[in-house]
């Protein structure tokens, strides 16, 4: 069987992307790139896999492989409104979606803005979560087969050696070019906010050239670390793109400081995904400033971390934190939980598939009206989750009690996090589900563990 992999993007389809430039369409596009790479690695073990960058190529390949008697399927990694339709080659769209209603468009002539059109045309679809799959089922009934198949994250991360709070090992993170702002060094949070502001000591952020180099070509400079961060005590880590309004970072950070105002051995690591992190840092530090004084530590990392460095970060993280309004899947949660780090997270949207009281401290939320992120009309057509901030504070406090408490509970939660991820997104499991869904009779049934 042969697979064509296509990364649909708004860059390729500016007219389809809606007028809100820069607004992520569902899950951020970098996540779709990761998803495509993961599928390529998984499928290439046994099948022919070709990445194409133009849907027009798909039909040519389809003709070619069909003549050889080999079924050919196009997998489009993108939201449905960016997926190719009308091809002779069977097409399946793999998408993430975190709102309560499917977009029905109406703001442009592109029929794909009504996702039902795409699902009908394809007849099959893969959603990253049960939450999204259920919406497709409700909208399409028998007209579209849909499966909830998350990205196969587990295997790559399960091998990370934890260097957690109680492991007694050195916990050092080395980072190359980029900006790191550590409240232990900057002094932000040592006093109450100044007034008038002109009396405040200047908060200078050293200028850093923006990272325009694509990730695959990271220079050797990263081999020579510029920053060395030494961790002690409890390390809570979060990873988000500040431009993504769903991430709700203000709640996450303010609740951390509220919970640990008097706790010196609590650290929040904020890994920022942003092309120009130094443009975001003043907003971030403004919030820290207003929360001061506090004894806990906040380390903001605005630097590119390669896979090894991300694994290093995961190895020293005791808890992975998420307080978002909605998730299509949330790769950071899945990745870090695969290393045995319990989570602080809501159990809504995609996270309902894997967050439980055994592996996480659950953040509460209820629905509020919201806007599809790519809708240029910005009308209230859908809903997302409004988070209860005090439940985040409670979650931090409970997590701290667990980390400092008897080892049995700590080990049980760590094991539960790992086991859940194994069951949810190991390559063996995903591969099996995928093959069953795509009806690939040519796949040999591998006698892997169930």
């Amino acid at each position: 069987m042969s697979f064509l992999l296509y990364l649909g993007s708004s860059a390729r389809n500016p007219e389809a992307a809606g007028r809100r430039a820069g607004a992520p369409v569902g899950e951020a596009e970098y996540s779709y790139r990761f998803l495509l790479d993961a599928y390529r690695d998984m499928l290439a073990e046994t099948e022919t896999v070709i990445e194409i960058d133009d849907p027009a190529q798909a039909d040519r390949y389809h003709v070619h492989f069909t003549a050889l008697g080999e079924p050919c399927t196009l997998l489009a990694f993108c939201p449905p409104n960016l997926a190719p339709v009308g091809l002779a080659c069977p097409t399946v769209c793999l998408f993430a979606w975190e709102f309560t209603t499917l977009p029905t468009g109406g703001w442009s002539k592109d029929p794909r803005e009504d996702w039902r059109h795409v699902f009908l045309a394809h007849g099959r679809s893969i959603a990253m979560s049960e939450f999204a799959a259920a919406q497709v089922r409700a909208a399409m009934g028998d007209y579209c087969e849909v499966a909830a198949i998350p990205a196969p994250v587990y295997d790559a991360w399960a091998s990370v050696e934890p260097r957690r709070m109680t492991d007694g090992q050195a916990r050092v993170l080395r980072i190359g070019a980029g900006v790191v702002r550590d409240t232990r060094l900057t002094g932000i949070g040592q006093t109450a906010p100044f007034w008038p502001l002109r009396d405040a000591p200047a908060l200078q952020i050293p200028p850093v050239p923006p990272l325009t180099v694509p990730p695959a070509h990271v220079p050797d400079a990263l081999l020579h670390p510029v920053h060395e961060i030494v961790f002690d005590g409890m390390v809570f880590t979060t990873i988000f793109a500040p431009k993504d309004g769903r991430k709700n970072w203000r709640d996450l950070v303010s609740a951390f400081i509220w919970a640990f105002r008097d706790t010196a051995d609590a650290t929040l690591v904020v890994k920022i995904i942003h092309r120009e992190p130094e443009s975001f840092l003043p907003h971030f530090e403004n919030l820290l400033f207003k929360c001061g004084p506090f004894a806990c530590r906040v380390v903001a990392i605005g630097a590119w971390l390669d896979d090894d460095q991300m694994r290093d970060l995961a190895s020293v993280s005791d808890i992975i934190v998420n307080t978002s309004h909605g998730e299509g899947m949330c790769l950071p949660l899945a990745e870090f939980m695969s290393t045995g780090a319990p989570a602080i997270a809501p159990d809504h949207t995609a996270m309902a598939d894997y967050i439980t009281p055994d592996n996480a401290f659950i953040v509460r939320g209820t629905l509020e009206h919201n806007v599809w992120p790519h809708d240029p009309q910005a009308m209230f057509r859908t809903m997302r989750y409004r988070i209860e901030w005090d439940s985040i504070v409670e979650a931090y406090e409970s997590a701290a009690a667990m980390l400092k408490g008897p080892p049995e509970r700590r080990l049980a939660m760590s094991h539960a996090a790992r086991q859940t991820m194994h069951d949810y997104c190991s390559r063996a499991r995903i591969g099996k589900t995928l093959r069953r869904f795509l009806g690939t009779a040519s796949f040999a049934e591998t006698p892997e563990e169930v």
Binding site: I257, L367, H369, A378, F380
Partner: protein, 471 residues
């Protein structure tokens, strides 16, 4: 007894100050005045720093008690007067300001309240917040504004129909009625394309009287659109979302501020975001004569509040006194009178915030975050009750009317006010340090805490009078 009263806004300045931060203190003073006049001679002060002690000292020489009730937030209350000073203030946050950031030492409310030695507020929530900071013995009492009596007469238990028949309301000013204009220019897309649209109706029209016909299930909220705590965005968007298909549902928003064009536009834009809807929103940006204000109360089905915090919320108390059930949270000031018996209670959680008078915006306290699902449910259920469960509606109306009497009738408030002022007048007017330690040390505070007068021991005040005046 002489009762000196002061509010930053008075009857002369109210027209100018309407909508500014301290304006509501004027209305509270207005409600308390008839009660105060039963307890003594009320003198309105315009310059506390200079007038109060002059009058107080003259009164003392003649053996007349004198107290000063200052209807203002503590950072505006004079802290060094000889005359016993009682701040009368509202507060809806869960910590008492206790820091300074400028040369006004009174920004630290705990310092000011300790210095003056007593205070009046309007909810048990605020009493708890103050006592958490200053100790259980601190002399503070919750006296809600006594609004019940003026509005109780409007309660008509014999009225059968819950829905309002079409009724004309006259407004001197502008009426922004979603039924009369196209909301399309107010959407985000239109704003991006064509710029922000002006509100319908010209400036000249605002001097004229307009009429609007209201009917059906009427949800009424009265507030200052510039006051962020009122959270009109949830109020409006959830109304449109929940009652989208109900042409009999009407949201009436009476703006209490005449200078809030930006906020009014935001309100219309919020409603535009949930279109299309069959329900209706009417914003009253103008003046209602007393008879029209009473008519709006009479025809309203429900009183509405979706705020992030309240000191007490006078409009809600007034409407409930008149037998209107509420859609409202039960947090902060409202916890004393909102219940499932008289309201569709809206759940809320907490979020971090700063004290409003703190320019540093230091995160020191918490306010509420409305649970929108709960608000949607409250709108839907209240609509169902109004249209098809008259028995429940009348039960809630009765509960609202009677419940508010126990909370804020003149009789109830007067009794507590009398008792409180009695204690105040028997304390020396000079600085009284109230320790925040559990065990108070001064004899005055012992008497106040125990509530027993122990056989009417001679007060220091009396001793002074007996000794004869200094001059």
């Amino acid at each position: 007894m002489l009762i000196l009263v002061y509010a930053p806004t008075n009857s002369r300045t109210i027209a100018r100050d309407l909508g500014r931060a301290e304006y509501s203190y004027y209305f509270v003073l207005k409600e308390f005045r008839p009660l105060l006049e039963q307890l003594g001679i009320v003198i309105e002060i315009t310059d506390p720093e200079h007038e109060v002690d002059r009058i107080h000292n003259a009164a003392i020489r003649r053996g007349i008690d004198c107290v000063f009730l200052c209807f203002a937030p503590p950072h505006l209350v004079p802290g060094g007067l000889v005359c016993p000073t009682v701040p009368v203030f509202a507060w809806e946050f869960d910590t008492l300001p206790n820091e300074t950031w400028s040369d006004n030492w009174r920004d630290d409310w705990s310092a000011l309240l300790r210095r003056v030695g007593q205070a009046i507020t309007h909810s048990s929530f605020t009493v708890d917040v103050v006592r958490n900071a200053l100790g259980r013995a601190y002399p503070i009492v919750s006296l809600p504004a006594p609004v019940w009596d003026r509005h109780a007469a409007a309660y008509d238990p014999t009225r059968n129909s819950v829905l309002t028949p079409p009724t004309l309301l006259n407004v001197r000013g502008r009426i922004i009625d979603s039924a009369t204009f196209d909301l399309a220019p107010y959407t985000c897309a239109a704003r991006r394309r064509d710029g922000q649209a002006e509100l319908p109706g010209s400036r000249r029209e605002r001097a004229l009287t307009h009429a609007v016909t209201l009917s059906g299930v009427i949800y009424t909220a009265i507030f200052n659109p510039n006051d962020g705590r009122k959270n009109f965005s949830d109020m409006i968007a959830a109304f449109g979302w929940a009652l989208r298909d109900e042409p009999r549902a009407t949201l009436v928003l009476k703006a209490t501020n005449r200078k809030c064009e930006g906020a009014l536009k935001a309100m219309v834009e919020e409603f535009a975001k949930v279109q299309p809807t069959r329900c209706r929103m009417v914003i009253i940006d103008g003046f209602l004569e007393e008879s029209e204000y009473a008519r709006l109360l009479e025809i309203s089905t429900y009183a509405l509040n979706t705020s992030l915090g309240e000191g007490q919320c006078l409009p809600l108390m007034e409407y409930m006194s008149a037998g209107k059930p509420a859609i409202s949270p039960a947090h902060t000031g409202m916890r004393d009178y909102i219940s499932e018996a008289n309201a569709f209670v809206v759940r809320s959680s907490l979020e971090p915030f700063h004290w409003p008078h703190d320019p540093r915006e230091a995160i020191r306290t918490r306010r509420h975050r409305i649970d929108l699902e709960s608000l949607l449910g409250a709108y839907r259920e209240s609509f169902r009750v109004a249209t098809s469960d008259a028995a429940s509606y009348h039960r809630m109306a009765r509960a609202a009317h009677h419940g508010l009497r126990a909370h804020c009738s003149r009789q109830v408030v007067l009794k507590q006010l009398t008792r409180f002022l009695d204690r105040v007048r028997h304390r020396p007017g000079s600085v009284t340090h109230v320790s925040s330690a559990p065990e108070p040390q001064t004899p005055d505070v012992v008497r106040l805490r125990s509530g027993q007068d122990g056989g009417r021991a001679a007060s220091p005040w009396q001793a002074l009078a007996d000794a004869g005046s200094a001059d």
